[in-house]
């Protein structure tokens, strides 16, 4: 395995930006495309393509937004990035802005991370002093600056269109797509929204090249992934793993023992039993925005189910029928399972509701909010229904 472990490493500030200025915009876009970098926020959309689409959109005003709303249960890797190498994230944003033709960058920082704000402002000031942000960056004729906006406690605002609504000072309700933000985003201008970690990868790709990046990871998932590991492990924390790592290897790394189940992807992810620990963390097998939660054999899966379903009952924005209404039934179902009173017919009905939510919910929240329920039901049937 090639050397994993660069995302959290410090590097010379401005190097990548300088290099970017030396090559033309289309080439950088191609480079990112060729590298196979996919979004680290969960959905895994190819970042190069996003850059291309946003770059091609005809508008004099464009925005680059860094999604630091990190709200998925069990995810804290963006926090760690912002605590250790914020300047790389900002440099990645600047390169992106240069490529697509944006002058304004925004980092949408979840309200819970308010305590990081002062440090980030410091970093930004430092970069401004070093002419890595602001006007005529590095003496060229590219202007770009970044401001920090705080969220106000709503998980759904991590969804990119809801995030944009929130930035516009509105209720954080997801919008219908299309139009996608790359063509009509903040204030209806083309907007590129990416995750903290995604931006953090960009300076590396620009300096080390696409091929270097592609060599890391698995076939369809280039690069590394930061995973936030918590739960029943000896060494919780953020780990940078090459894509394609098997769950069981990760468990070894974090010194998990007596493991019964692992949740990958947080409340909207799936929960797998020991028999599936051979599976890989990658876009081709089990994707994750970064959350890995480990449960040992003393844990009851019904409690996990309950916790996640209550999470969505709190966090659905409530605007669309399947998500607002559907969520309630899963909370009730947990109660019924607990009391040993759920019937087969009811379980079938729940699957129907779940399908309807997946197929018709307006945004990813409702589309994925029953993943955990269904996977626990499928994978731990005996325990649950005995």
């Amino acid at each position: 395995m090639p050397a994993a472990g660069f995302v959290l490493e410090k590097r010379k500030q401005g190097e990548a930006l300088k290099k970017a200025f030396e090559i033309n915009r289309a080439e950088i876009t191609d480079m990112i495309k060729d590298s196979g970098l996919k979004g680290r926020g969960g959905a895994g959309f190819p970042t190069g393509l996003k850059m291309y689409l946003c770059g091609a959109a005809a508008d004099t005003i464009k925005y680059v937004i860094c999604n630091a709303d990190e709200g998925e249960p069990g995810t804290f890797k963006d926090r760690v990035i912002l605590e250790t190498v914020p300047e790389k994230v900002f440099e990645g944003m600047a390169i992106t802005a240069y490529v697509i033709g944006a002058k304004e960058g925004i980092i949408y920082l979840r309200g819970e991370y308010e305590y990081l704000k002062a440090g980030l402002e410091n970093t930004l000031d430092g970069m401004r002093k070093n002419n890595l942000l602001g006007e005529k960056i590095l003496g060229g004729n590219f202007d770009f600056d970044i401001k920090i906006v705080l969220g106000a406690g709503a998980y759904v605002c991590g969804e990119e269109t809801a995030l944009i609504e929130s930035l516009e000072g509105k209720r954080g309700e997801a919008k219908n797509k299309p139009p996608f933000p790359v063509s009509s985003g903040l204030f209806c201008h083309p907007t590129l929204v990416s995750n903290v970690e995604t931006f953090c990868n960009i300076p590396h790709i620009v300096t080390e090249g696409a091929q270097w990046f592609k060599n890391i990871g698995s076939e369809k998932s280039a690069g590394t992934k930061l995973v936030s590991v918590s739960g029943d492990v000896k060494k919780p924390g953020v780990y940078e793993i090459p894509f394609g790592m098997k769950v069981k290897d990760l468990l070894k790394l974090v010194e998990a023992g007596n493991t019964k189940a692992v949740d990958i992807g947080g409340a909207s992810g799936i929960v797998i039993p020991e028999s599936q620990f051979d599976r890989e963390i990658s876009f081709e097998d089990i994707p994750t925005g970064g959350s890995v939660i480990v449960f040992d054999k003393t844990r009851k899966m019904i409690d996990v189910m309950e916790n996640f379903m209550e999470f969505f009952l709190d966090e659905s924005c409530g605007q669309c029928t399947p998500c607002r209404e559907g969520t309630k039934y899963f909370v009730d179902a947990v109660e019924k399972i607990k009391n040993g009173r759920i019937t087969d017919q009811e379980l079938k009905n729940l699957r129907d509701i779940s399908n309807c939510m997946k197929l018709t919910s307006k945004c990813g929240l409702g589309q994925s909010s029953t993943n955990a329920f269904i996977s626990i039901l499928d994978n731990f049937k005996e325990e649950l229904l005995s």
Binding site: R79, G153, E168, R171, G172, G237
Partner: protein
């Protein structure tokens, strides 16, 4: 921060002028201004919505509607210190329930409640992004991690005297 059950219009206007001297009146700054008001007064009331609305040219009811969406923009009376204990799974695994009990015991209110002196409001929060150091809680913008019931009580006590 001045939390009392009555906030005068004059106080609100003074604070608002103060906040607005640092930002402009674009709608995109609305949430930020509301956050500042909450920082100062602990919650948003109808007078604030009217005054903010006037300045931003946004209907006050729209401001109420927007604020009511966000967990951190309370539109009902709320205490000076908002204790938000994470209820999500990783903290749960690390006995967050015990922390809740300890704090409930320390300030004598249940989840969702506010102490009579308007000092503390106790709320549930979803994952705070501190799961590796579970269990965690926020008090206003300060984060506390790897809590034990004793540690939690001590922290609360330190706020009582503030």
């Amino acid at each position: 921060m001045t939390v009392s059950s009555k906030i005068s219009k004059k106080e609100i206007i003074n604070e608002l002028d103060n906040i607005l001297s640092k930002t402009n009146l674009e709608r995109e700054n609305l949430l930020c201004v509301l956050e500042e008001l909450v920082r100062k007064f602990g919650y948003l009331n109808d007078i604030m919505a009217v005054e903010v609305g006037k300045r931003f040219g946004v209907d006050p009811n729209e401001i109420y509607s927007v604020a009511s969406f966000y967990a951190f923009l309370p539109v009902k009376k709320s205490g000076k210190y908002k204790i938000r204990i994470c209820r999500t799974i990783s903290c749960k695994l690390k006995n967050a329930d015990k922390i809740v009990e300890a704090i409930e015991d320390e300030i004598g209110i249940k989840f969702g409640g506010t102490t009579k002196d308007m000092k503390f409001t106790l709320e549930r929060a979803n994952c705070l992004g501190m799961c590796d150091k579970a269990p965690a809680m926020l008090i206003n913008d300060k984060v506390y991690t790897e809590l034990t019931p004793e540690k939690a009580k001590e922290i609360i006590r330190s706020y009582k005297n503030k």
